[in-house]
């Protein structure tokens, strides 16, 4: 399987303080890749690098065979990268429908309506209240709306940052199901960033473990899941 996204020795910083060192990462086309690690490991910063919100200080980011290292976030959407940011970041004062349509902002094709129908199909509770102001939704509904908004861009690569944070397990299961469904039916490539390591490695086929801004381990999701070090450090299971 070829890689849709490839990072080569990427380092990044916020001003003077470096947050990522020498990251090598690949996301195989059509697969779900998990990015796990504890709080402050640099997962969100890495997502900012991939989405273009943070431009690396060194290294190379390639997407679909094209060097996009210096490309700004606004352009990466058009290239096919969509991010579901940590904390959802919905446009709180606008309605569900308005949020979803903003997801399709750069699109000029005539399949927007079709994609909207698909979001409604995945999350019928959003369709029932499409005019409701996003800021008044429950956490789970907001996450559905945020995922829906990213899907409305019809991306080739979907980045999902901390989807499960603060949500009830039953809601998380539904969201995971929806992601797996778009992955399987459309072959959408997904990178899933999670503190819930067990969940992430269950959904994904490959995984990377990040610690203090470095990749410390990577491999098949199943192998990582069975790795005693990971079980001890991230899943609370004694080795």
């Amino acid at each position: 399987m070829s890689s849709l996204l490839k990072l080569e020795s990427v380092s990044a910083a916020y001003g003077e303080s470096e947050v990522l060192w020498d990251i090598d990462l690949e996301a195989p086309e059509g697969a779900v890749t998990a990015l796990v690690g504890s709080n402050g490991a640099g997962k969100t910063s890495l997502m900012r690098v991939v989405s273009g919100l943070l431009i690396p200080t060194s290294g190379k980011v390639a997407f679909a065979g094209k060097d996009i290292t210096g490309l700004v976030a606004e352009r990466r959407v058009v290239e096919g990268i969509a991010l579901v940011p940590e904390g959802r970041r919905l446009f709180a004062g606008l309605s569900i429908l308005e949020n979803l349509m903003l997801g399709a902002f750069t699109r000029r094709d005539d399949r927007v309506k079709e994609d909207l129908e698909r979001v409604w199909k995945h999350f019928p509770e959003l369709a029932d209240r499409s005019g409701q102001i996003a800021g008044t939704l429950s956490g789970g509904q907001q996450q559905m709306c945020a995922i829906g908004r990213a899907l409305m861009a019809r991306p080739k690569l979907l980045l999902v940052d901390e989807m499960s944070l603060g949500l009830a397990p039953v809601v998380v299961d539904r969201l995971a199901e929806a992601l797996l469904d778009v992955n399987e039916s459309d072959g959408l490539t997904i990178i899933l960033v999670e503190q819930d390591v067990e969940l992430a490695l269950e959904i994904a086929s490959r995984g990377y473990v990040l610690d203090t801004g470095r990749v410390v381990m990577s491999g098949e999701a199943g192998e990582l899941r069975d790795n005693p070090k990971i079980r001890e450090a991230y899943m609370g299971v004694a080795a």
Binding site: L53, V78, P85, R89, F91, G93, T106, R149
Partner: protein, 289 residues
């Protein structure tokens, strides 16, 4: 006299409303208190005056010209002067917009002198008489056009793709970037449209008030009051507040004398700030919800 006072207030309310829309939206979307907003209104009034003097154009028909000219001015000033400083500090944006204000006033003193001018039309003095109430044709047309411009502004922000992009940028600049929206362009458009509506207000004002390069200064006071009354960033709130402000002024002028108009209006402003700092309609701007 009561009916006449109410009519006087209502006829001016729309003009105060659209004089304020741009100021309020710029404040809400970008957090910029544009002290040059009054000068934009003044420039619009002079465009109406000049086109009337030179080509005999009706000041109401000057509106599209003033709007286009001010859109360009507003967009350019935002792109070149304000975008670079708007994320630094509020003080810096105040200083820059104050500088623009002084520059525009002096520029117009240079070209038009500080003499007070007036725009005259064939129908300037005529009125519609309904019972004891006199309705000036000029003010009636200005009021109707104000409401139309206000409705267009509201629909633009809330019903068009570009309007949605502006609101999205106001709500979450970074999330807007993830949608493919360039914030600096959204800010430029916001400033351009705000200036365009101010230009339209200037054309309408030129038919009602005497004009001079400092016309904007007195307008800026009213614009501040109406913004706070209507709620920052709310087009609908600002229009209603424009009418409220004009009615209070009309009542003060009729029953206390013209000298009291401003005192009463600003006292009302202070009272609102103390009692309802979120504005009369209590709806916080999208970005603050």
């Amino acid at each position: 006299m009561l009916a006449q006072t109410i009519v006087n207030g209502l006829l001016l309310g729309g003009v105060y409303g659209i004089a304020t829309i741009g100021f309020s939206v710029v404040w809400g979307v970008m957090g910029i208190i544009n002290l040059a907003h009054g000068a934009y209104i003044m420039v619009g009034a002079y465009i109406a005056f000049a086109l009337n003097q030179w080509f005999g154009l009706d000041p109401f028909l000057a509106m599209p010209f003033a709007m286009v000219a001010l859109f360009v001015i507003g967009y350019a000033l935002q792109a070149f002067l304000l975008n670079p400083v708007m994320h630094t500090s509020l003080l810096l944006t105040l200083v820059v917009t104050f500088g623009i204000d002084l520059f525009l006033i002096d520029l117009f003193v240079l070209f038009f002198s500080s003499d007070v001018r007036a725009v005259h039309t064939a129908y300037s003095g005529s009125s519609l008489e309904i019972g004891p109430v006199l309705i000036s044709w000029v003010r009636l047309v200005a009021a109707i056009l104000s409401v139309l411009v206000a409705i267009a502004s509201y629909l633009f922000l809330n019903r068009t793709r570009t309007g949605q992009a502006i609101l999205a940028t106001a709500l979450d600049r970074e999330a807007a970037r993830l949608m493919g929206i360039y914030p600096d362009r959204a800010y430029g458009l916001t400033a351009g449209l705000a200036a365009a509506v101010a230009g339209a207000a200037g054309c309408l004002a030129s038919t009602i008030f005497p004009i001079s390069p400092t016309l904007g200064i007195s307008f800026l006071g009213a614009v501040f009051v109406v913004t706070v009354l209507g709620g920052i960033g709310s087009v609908a709130g600002v229009i209603i507040a424009g009418f409220a402000y004009a009615l209070v002024q009309a009542f003060a002028a009729t029953y206390l004398g013209a000298n009291y108009q401003q005192i009463v209006a600003f006292s009302m402003f202070l009272l609102i700030l103390i009692v309802r700092p979120q504005g009369l309609f209590g709806k916080p701007f999208y970005g603050e919800s």
